[in-house]
């Protein structure tokens, strides 16, 4: 059995003072709330701000999602909502598209128009809690437009809303593929980012290492990739959109994937805060303290949830949740015990949310900030993962940054090789996974867990509703806003499409229509799958 970190550093059996030689408290750690923020951003830690305890929702129709969100509120989830989109919305086609018909509402929320968002948010406040809408990068502008449009309809100042609805275009390379081309996703992501920053809407964008790591990347690589992505996006917003770094620093949030290797995960989170703070100050000349603080949320690792003996995942989830909390996070959502089987069942979701509540209120982990600081082992691990992370970061920068490294295929190759290595390690029993390659029991001896049913007839229902609803919209208003969007989409890349997207969304243009027209304006096919024709005519 390997006794080394996932990035290949061989662990010693005991750590002592010699492992942190040259350690300088104020330089390397400092008190919580002080640069370089290794110990976190708040002097009082969770006493001053408890992490947002949340579960992800979204399956079936928008009305179904609304019911689940209300149920989560009743279960004590009042800090924020988190909804994941289905694959149809993520690929920017409509449920009544031939491919949409088979998959609408299957893997998440079918949020293909403002109507769906209104239904999902019925009787749920937009303010006073964080609004997080997950999906892929391509429909980020749509998710933002829904929030702005619904706020305006409800008479709420959009700057009073906080949360996250945008996803960076890099996720497409990390096993979370959507069908839109990278250049288009990047342009629209910058449009949405510029829009929220200039309008002071407190919407963060996910520029995250979670997908990278869940696809098999290691901790050191995740740090390097995360910093490189943030640097690329902030750099572009500064150079191409005329913003300053302190403003752009309000955009990114990081979603850290936290697995079962407890101490290594805590070290990774501490290292990331320190590395980000240094990058902000030394590379970007950040002026304010806040600009040196990368907002960090945690997702406990879905890839570690085993198919075999799924109840064991409750223990894994608890270890990971505790690591995420000790590592220091602003929000946490859990993988569920049935992750390797299906979408979360009600039982699995409750179990996961309660795991957080138990860590928050019973374990004492929330009482003291960064409790492992000063541990020879944890400080040595923090230094080590940082050192290894910097090696890869410098390599990426030497290539010209994240986009250049992707164009060279460097990142993809690194990820693919690492994912294959992880598989080989388990296949060859170098890493043991209880119930999978160690202490295996016959499948018939396993306990059954409830499985969340997916109803494929829901997809037809969602599709038919959309097909019937589309002609009932105000066609004149729809055509006018779509015409404007088409005209704007033909302008240069730096022309921000957000205002015309919001107007089209308010006229109930769907994601397929909005993205189709933008694609058409840029010389691409209206339908990414080339199965349907553009229903609009332009002069």
């Amino acid at each position: 059995m390997k006794r080394e970190t996932d990035y290949g550093y061989a662990l010693k059996s005991v750590y002592g003072p010699e492992d942190v030689a040259g350690f300088d408290y104020s330089r390397d750690l400092n008190d919580p709330g002080g640069y370089p923020y290794t110990r976190g951003y708040y002097p009082e830690g969770y006493r001053s701000r408890m992490w947002t305890q949340r579960m992800t929702a979204g399956l079936g129709t928008s009305v179904d999602a609304n019911k689940v969100l209300k149920k989560y509120r009743d279960m004590g989830q009042v800090g924020g909502i988190c909804v994941i989109s289905d694959r149809v919305f993520s690929d920017c086609i409509d449920p009544d598209h031939p491919l949409g018909r088979r998959e609408a509402g299957v893997l998440g929320w079918p949020g293909c128009s403002l109507l769906e968002f209104e239904e999902m948010m019925e009787d749920i406040p937009l303010t006073g809690q964080s609004i997080t809408l997950l999906g892929s990068s391509a429909p980020s502008t749509l998710r933002l437009a829904y929030v702005v449009a619904l706020a305006q309809k409800r008479g709420i100042d959009p700057s009073k809303i906080h949360g996250s609805v945008m996803e960076s275009p890099f996720e497409n390379y990390f096993g979370q593929t959507d069908v839109s081309p990278f250049d288009l996703n990047l342009k629209l992501f910058l449009d949405a980012s510029e829009y929220v920053l200039r309008n002071k809407i407190r919407m963060r964008a996910s520029i995250i290492s979670q997908h990278f790591q869940e696809s098999g990347g290691n901790s050191a690589q995740a740090l390097a990739v995360n910093l490189s992505m943030v640097k690329e996006i902030c750099g572009r917003l500064i150079n191409e959109r005329g913003l300053d770094f302190d403003t752009t620093s309000l955009l990114p949030y990081e979603l850290v994937s936290v697995g079962t290797r407890f101490f290594e995960e805590i070290a990774k989170m501490r290292a990331l805060r320190r590395m980000y703070a240094r990058m902000a100050k030394e590379e970007f000349g950040a002026k304010t303290e806040k600009a040196c603080q990368l907002l960090m949320a945690v997702h406990t690792s879905g890839r570690t949830m085993t198919y075999q003996q799924p109840l064991n995942n409750i223990a894994r989830c608890a270890i990971q949740t505790l690591a995420g909390v000790i590592g220091g996070c602003s929000a946490l959502d859990n993988a569920t015990l049935d992750n390797a089987h299906s979408e979360p069942s009600a039982l699995a979701a409750r179990m996961s949310l309660n795991t957080q509540h138990i860590v928050a209120y019973e374990s004492g982990a929330a009482d003291v900030v960064d409790p492992l600081a000063g541990s020879y082992f944890v400080e040595a691990l923090t230094n080590k993962v940082e050192e290894e992370g910097y090696k890869i970061y410098n390599e990426i920068q030497a290539m010209g940054g994240m986009v250049a490294a992707l164009k060279k295929g460097f990142i993809q190759e690194m990820l693919s090789a690492e994912a294959a290595k992880k598989f080989r390690e388990i296949d060859g029993k170098e890493r043991l996974v209880v119930g999978v390659n160690h202490l295996v029991i016959p499948p018939e001896d396993d306990f059954e867990i409830p499985i969340q049913e997916v109803h494929s007839q829901d997809s037809e229902t969602i599709a038919n509703r959309m097909a019937e609803w589309k002609p009932t919209r105000d066609q004149k208003l729809l055509n006018a806003t779509i015409g404007q969007l088409y005209a704007d989409a033909r302008k240069d890349d730096r022309f921000n499409l957000m205002p015309s997207i919001i107007e089209a969304v308010k006229a109930y243009a769907t994601v397929g229509e909005v993205m189709g027209v933008i694609r058409k304006g840029r010389g691409l096919s209206y339908d990414p799958f080339e199965m349907i024709e553009c229903p609009f005519t332009f002069e």
Binding site: V88, S90, L99, R102, L107, T177, T306, F423
Partner: protein, 138 residues
């Protein structure tokens, strides 16, 4: 010892499933074992997979499934049947619940490999069951 020599396999995601990690790993494992792998990637409709299977004259189709869109897999099996290609087995891997695996097998999917399956299991199954397996072992 290259067990997969002479066997041609498609590895693909299906429909709108964008989760590529599992498929990429299996493609690599099969290539390392000597299989000829046609890796189609994400956003492949059942029709596209059928076309690739015909054009490339493959012996087995592997679908990596992480998006619960089982209806697409069933549709692929139906398309193969209509095109008289039922001798090309469809095998699936990914997070597919037990009862769905059973249902898929009842509707013509040859085998379903859950997460945690070993490369030996997957390779062994394909070698024994891919189109032309009896001819090869004879």
């Amino acid at each position: 010892m290259l067990k997969g020599k002479g066997i041609k396999a498609i590895v693909s995601m299906i429909g709108l499933d964008g989760h590529t990690t599992g498929g990429e790993i299996v493609a690599r494992v099969l290539r390392d074992a000597g299989f000829e792998v046609i890796y189609l990637g994400a956003t492949q409709t059942p029709e596209m997979i059928l076309q690739a299977a015909i054009q490339e004259d493959v012996d087995v189709i592997g679908i990596s499934s992480h998006a619960s869109n089982y209806i697409q897999i069933e549709y692929l099996v139906e398309l193969l049947r209509k095109n008289e290609m039922s001798d090309v087995p469809v095998i699936c891997g990914g997070n597919i619940p037990k009862h769905v695996a059973k249902q898929l097998k009842g509707r013509g999917v040859a085998e379903v490999f859950p997460p945690g399956s070993s490369s030996a299991d997957i390779i062994g199954y394909i070698v024994a069951n891919a189109r032309g397996a009896q001819r090869r072992s004879a």
